[in-house]
C-alpha cells in the first residue's frame, strides 16, 4: 500500500461523499443513507489522517465501513437498535484519530487538540460567507481539516524519541 493508494482511497471516498451530500440536498437522511454517509465519512477521515502517510490495513478499514452500513440498515428491522448509532458516532470520529496516534501520525495529545481547534477555526472562517448546505459544509470541513493537518505536520515540533515500528491494528 503506497501513499498514492491512500490518497486515491481518500479522493474516491470524498468524491462519493460529496456527490451523496449534493444528491440529498436539504433533504433528510434515513438510516441506510446515514449509514452510507457515515461509512464514507469514516473512510474520508481515515484518508485525511493518513493523507501524508500510508493507511494501515486498508481492507480492514473498508470492512469496518461496510459493517457501519449493515448496522444502520438493521435499524429498519428493529428500530430501537438506532441507539447503537451513538457508539457508532464515537467510532467514526475517534477511531481514525486513534489509528493516527497509534501509527505515529499525531505526535501527542496536544497535536490532536491543535488539529481540531485549527481546523474548526479555519472551517468557521471559510464557511461564514458560504451557503449552509450539506455538501458545501463537508467540502469546507474536510478541506480545512486536511489543510490544518498539513500545517501542523509541517510546523508542529517533532518530539525526540526513538523510531519505532507501528503495530498493525
Amino acid at each position: 500500500m503506497s501513499k498514492l493508494m491512500s490518497r486515491f482511497l481518500f479522493l474516491i471516498s470524498f468524491l462519493f461523499l460529496l456527490l451523496f451530500s449534493y444528491w440529498v440536498g436539504d433533504g433528510v437522511l434515513y438510516p441506510l443513507g446515514a449509514g452510507v454517509f457515515l461509512a464514507l465519512f469514516y473512510l474520508v477521515l481515515v484518508g485525511v489522517v493518513f493523507f501524508f502517510h500510508v493507511i494501515p490495513n486498508v481492507r480492514r478499514r473498508v470492512l469496518e465501513a461496510a459493517v457501519l452500513v449493515v448496522l444502520f440498515a438493521s435499524f429498519y428491522v428493529y428500530p430501537p437498535l438506532a441507539l447503537t448509532a451513538i457508539p457508532a458516532l464515537f467510532f467514526v470520529l475517534l477511531y481514525p484519530v486513534y489509528l493516527g496516534w497509534r501509527h505515529g501520525v499525531f505526535k501527542d495529545l496536544t497535536h490532536i487538540i491543535l488539529w481540531f481547534v485549527l481546523s474548526a477555526a479555519m472551517g468557521v472562517a471559510l464557511s461564514w460567507p458560504l451557503p449552509q448546505t450539506l455538501w458545501i459544509n463537508i467540502l469546507v470541513a474536510v478541506s480545512t481539516a486536511l489543510l490544518a493537518h498539513y500545517i501542523l505536520l509541517k510546523t508542529y515540533p517533532r518530539p525526540k524519541r526513538q523510531h519505532q515500528k507501528p503495530a498493525t491494528t
Binding site: 440529498v24 438510516p31 441506510l32 446515514a34 457515515l38 440498515a73 441507539l83
Partner: protein, 701 residues
C-alpha cells in the same frame, strides 16, 4: 316499395321502445336550458334528450395510458318522442312556448313532427313536466334521422361564444355579483314494492333534522336554481320525485314555500330546476320519492345548487389551483384522431360562476409542438379541438411550420391557450354523480399518420375562485347573525393539487380559523417505493407550534428516539452547537437526525416574512394516507392578506433518504375576514361538505 315496408316495420320495432321513437339529430342547436314537449294525442309530454358522444383514442396523462373516451359537442343528440306525435298533430302550442318543427326521415319516408319548446316548463296540477337530459355513451342505432327546419328564434350555435380567455379573467373584485355552485349531498335509497320515502341527507355530522323535519337539507341563502341528477338502478313504475322547499325561520320553525314534482326518469339523467325563493331567507330542501318498484331498485339523487352572491370582501372567496406535470412527449400512430386528457382534478364546491355561464377561472394549456410523419407533398393544417369535462369548448387550426414535409415530417407549433371552466360542464358533472370533477382535453386530427409525437414545454394549470359556503353576501353586517357571520370554524382557504405523471396524485389544503391554521396533505402514488416522505409549505401567514397528525392521530415520539436524542442533546449538545462547519458537528448532526426523524415531525422556519413549514415522515413508520400539520397563529391578529408562495414535496429514495423536490410555484392569495367579522354562531358547515368538513376529527376542534 313492397320490399321496403318490412324493413321499415323492423326498424320501427327496434326504435320504438316503451311508446316512443328515438330520433337522431345531428348538427342541431344546443338544447341547454330548454324544455321540449311533443303531443301524444291527449296531452303535451316531455321529450327526453340524450347527447351522443364521439369516441376518441385518448392519452390520459395522469396514468400514462390510452383509452377510448367520450366527447360531446352538444349538437348531436337523440330525442325520445312519443309515437303518437308522429300520427296526430297538436291542437295548438301552449302559451309561453314556441313551435319547432322536426323533420324525421327514415329511409325514403319523411314525417314532420311539431314540438313545443321553451324555457318555462309545463305544469300539470302540481307536477312539473320537465325535460330530462343525459350524456349517452353509445352511438345512435335508430334509423330515424331528424332535422329542425324552423326553430323560430335561432338559438346560438354551439360554443359560439367560446374562445380564448385571458389569465386575468379569473380574478374576482369586491362588488362583483357571482353565481357559486355547490353540491347538496343525499344518500342513495333502495326501494321495493309500493314506496314513499324521503331521500336521506348525507351529513358527516349526523345532523339530518331541521325545524323538526327529518331529512331536511340546509341549502342556505340566495339560492337561484338547482341542477338535479337522478339515477335509478332497477325498474320503477309511476315514480315521482318531489322537491319541497322550506323557509327556515329565525324562531326555528319552517314554512313550506313550494313543491316541485316531476316524474322519476330512467337511469342517469339530469334536469335544471329554477326556483324563486326569498333571497334573504334560509332555505331548506327535502326530496321525496314515491312510486312502485316490482323488485329492488335504488334511487340516487345528486343536486348542484346555484346561488347568487355579492362579493363584499375578498375573504368570502378562496382559490384553488391544480397543475399537471407535462408529458415530455406522447407518441401515437395510425389513428385518425387522438386526444390528450389532463385530470381529473378535485373539484371543490363553490365554483364561482359568472352571469354568462363561464366562471372565474383560467385553464392554461401550455405551448407544445406536434410532429406528424407525412408522405404527401404538402403539410395539411392541424386542427386542435379543446374540451372541458368532455364538452366541446373551442377549436383552432394550426398552420404547419413549413409548407412541405422536412425529412418526411410535418411540424406544428401549437401556441398556449387559455380556456375557462363553464358552469354548465361543472353542474352537469355534479348531476352525473362525478362530483364536479374537472378534465381538460385537447384533440388533434392526425389523419392516420403512422408516427405522431406531441411535445410539451410546460405544465397545465387551472386556477379558479370559490365562494366560501358559510358566508352570506352581507356577512360583514354585524346585525346579521346565523350562520354567515361565522369563521370560528375551519374554512378551506386555499388548495393545490398536483397530478404528476403516472406516479403522483397529491392534494394539499390550507384551512384557517381565527385561532388555528391547518395544512393538510393527501396523496396516492402508484409506485409504493416512492411515497411522499415530506412536504414544505411556504406561506406568509405567521405561524408557530407545529403538531403533526396522521388522519386524526397525533404523532408521538418513540421512546428510544427520545432517549437517543436526549443523550445527544444533553451530553453532546456542545458539539452540535459548533454548527455545520466541522467534521465533528456534521457527523453528530447526521446521527441526531436518525433519532429526530424516527417519527413524523414538523418544523417552522421564517425568513423575510415567509414562513416555511416542513413535515418529514418518520423512517420507522409506514407512509401515512393523510397528513395534517396543525399550527397556531404567531400573532394575535393575523394579517388579512396572505400568500401561499410555493409547495415542495419530498420523495422517498427508500430507504436512503427523503429528498425534497424543487419548489412548485403556487402564488395564490389568501384573504382573511377582518377582526370585526368574528362572530360566534352555529354554521351549517355540512352543506358544501367538500369545503368545510373533513373526515378527520382534528380539524373539527
Amino acid at each position: 316499395m313492397l320490399r321496403g315496408i318490412p324493413l321499415l316495420v323492423l326498424a320501427l320495432s327496434v326504435a320504438v321502445v316503451a311508446g316512443y321513437v328515438e330520433v337522431y339529430v345531428e348538427d342541431g342547436p344546443d338544447l341547454d336550458g330548454l324544455h321540449i314537449y311533443a303531443w301524444d294525442g291527449e296531452e303535451w309530454v316531455p321529450v327526453g334528450v340524450t347527447y351522443v358522444p364521439e369516441y376518441i383514442d385518448t392519452y390520459i396523462t395522469a396514468v400514462g395510458q390510452w383509452a377510448q373516451m367520450p366527447y360531446y359537442n352538444m349538437s348531436r343528440y337523440i330525442l325520445q318522442i312519443p309515437r303518437e306525435a308522429f300520427r296526430r298533430g297538436p291542437p295548438r302550442t301552449p302559451p309561453g312556448l314556441d313551435k319547432w318543427t322536426l323533420e324525421v326521415q327514415n329511409g325514403t319516408s319523411k314525417v314532420a313532427v311539431e314540438l313545443a319548446v321553451g324555457r318555462t316548463p309545463i305544469t300539470k296540477e302540481n307536477l312539473t313536466l320537465t325535460t330530462w337530459y343525459a350524456l349517452g355513451d353509445k352511438p345512435p342505432k335508430t334509423p330515424h334521422r331528424g332535422k329542425f327546419i324552423n326553430p323560430p328564434r335561432s338559438p346560438p350555435k354551439n360554443n359560439e361564444a367560446a374562445g380564448e380567455a385571458s389569465t386575468a379573467s379569473y380574478a374576482i373584485s369586491p362588488g362583483t355579483t357571482i353565481y357559486p355552485i355547490g353540491s347538496l349531498y343525499f344518500k342513495p335509497v333502495t326501494v321495493s314494492g309500493s314506496f314513499s320515502t324521503y331521500m336521506p341527507v348525507d351529513t358527516p355530522v349526523g345532523d339530518n333534522m331541521l325545524c323538526g323535519l327529518l331529512e331536511m337539507h340546509w341549502v342556505g341563502f340566495e339560492v337561484q336554481n338547482l341542477t338535479v341528477g337522478v339515477k335509478v338502478s332497477g325498474t320503477i313504475n309511476y315514480g315521482t320525485l318531489t322537491l319541497e322547499f322550506y323557509n327556515i325561520n329565525l324562531d326555528g320553525t319552517c314554512t313550506l314555500i313550494t313543491t316541485y314534482s316531476t316524474p322519476l326518469p330512467s337511469s342517469g339523467r339530469w334536469t335544471n330546476i329554477d326556483v324563486q325563493p326569498p333571497q334573504n331567507s334560509q332555505i331548506g330542501i327535502r326530496i321525496h320519492a314515491s312510486g312502485y318498484a316490482p323488485s329492488d331498485a335504488t334511487i340516487d339523487v345528486y343536486v348542484a345548487a346555484r346561488y347568487v352572491k355579492t362579493v363584499n370582501s375578498l375573504a368570502q372567496v378562496a382559490t384553488t389551483k391544480a397543475t399537471t406535470d407535462f408529458p415530455s412527449s406522447v407518441s401515437s400512430g395510425y389513428r385518425d384522431r387522438i386526444a390528450l386528457l389532463f385530470g381529473p382534478y378535485v373539484a371543490y364546491d363553490g365554483l364561482a360562476a359568472t352571469s354568462a355561464g363561464t366562471s372565474y377561472s383560467y385553464i392554461y394549456m401550455p405551448p407544445h409542438s406536434a410532429r406528424l410523419r407525412w408522405t404527401g407533398q404538402h403539410c395539411p393544417p392541424l386542427m386542435v379541438y379543446y374540451y372541458v369535462n368532455g364538452i366541446a369548448y373551442t377549436q383552432r387550426s394550426i398552420a404547419p411550420a413549413t409548407p412541405s414535409p422536412a425529412n418526411n415530417y410535418c411540424h406544428y407549433d401549437v401556441p398556449s391557450t387559455v380556456l375557462q371552466l363553464w358552469a354548465r360542464a361543472y353542474a352537469i358533472s355534479k348531476a352525473q354523480s362525478k362530483g364536479g370533477e374537472i378534465t381538460i382535453s385537447a384533440a388533434y386530427d392526425v389523419r392516420r399518420s403512422p408516427d405522431v409525437t406531441i411535445f410539451f414545454n410546460d405544465n397545465l394549470e387551472i386556477v379558479y375562485h370559490r365562494w366560501i359556503e358559510p358566508f352570506h353576501s352581507n356577512y360583514i353586517d354585524s346585525s346579521r347573525l346565523k350562520p354567515f357571520g361565522e369563521w370560528g370554524v375551519m374554512l378551506l382557504r386555499s388548495t393545490y393539487q398536483v397530478l404528476g405523471l403516472t406516479n403522483l396524485n397529491m392534494t394539499s389544503e390550507i384551512r384557517i380559523s381565527h385561532s388555528q391554521i391547518a395544512l393538510s396533505l393527501a396523496h396516492n402514488q402508484l409506485d409504493p417505493t416512492r411515497h411522499i416522505c415530506g412536504a414544505e409549505w411556504a406561506i406568509t401567514v405567521p405561524v408557530a407550534g407545529p403538531r403533526v397528525y396522521y388522519g386524526n392521530r397525533w404523532i408521538e415520539e418513540q421512546w428510544w428516539a427520545r432517549l437517543g436524542r436526549g443523550l445527544l442533546l444533553n451530553r453532546l449538545g456542545w458539539l452540535i452547537a459548533l454548527g455545520y462547519n466541522t467534521v465533528v458537528s456534521i457527523v453528530v448532526n447526521v446521527v441526531y437526525n436518525i433519532f429526530q426523524t424516527a417519527s413524523g415531525s414538523a418544523s417552522v422556519t421564517s425568513s423575510n416574512g415567509v414562513y416555511t413549514v416542513r413535515w418529514i415522515k418518520g423512517w420507522a413508520e409506514p407512509p401515512p394516507p393523510t397528513v395534517v400539520v396543525l399550527l397556531d397563529p404567531a400573532s394575535s391578529s393575523p394579517s388579512q392578506h396572505a400568500e401561499w408562495k410555493y409547495f415542495r414535496e419530498g420523495h422517498s429514495a427508500f430507504p436512503w433518504a427523503c429528498i425534497i423536490a424543487s419548489p412548485r410555484d403556487v402564488n395564490t392569495n389568501i384573504y382573511l375576514p377582518s377582526a370585526g367579522a368574528r362572530q360566534w354562531a352555529l354554521a351549517k358547515i355540512w352543506t358544501w361538505r367538500g369545503q368545510t368538513d373533513v373526515a378527520i376529527g382534528v380539524l373539527r376542534s
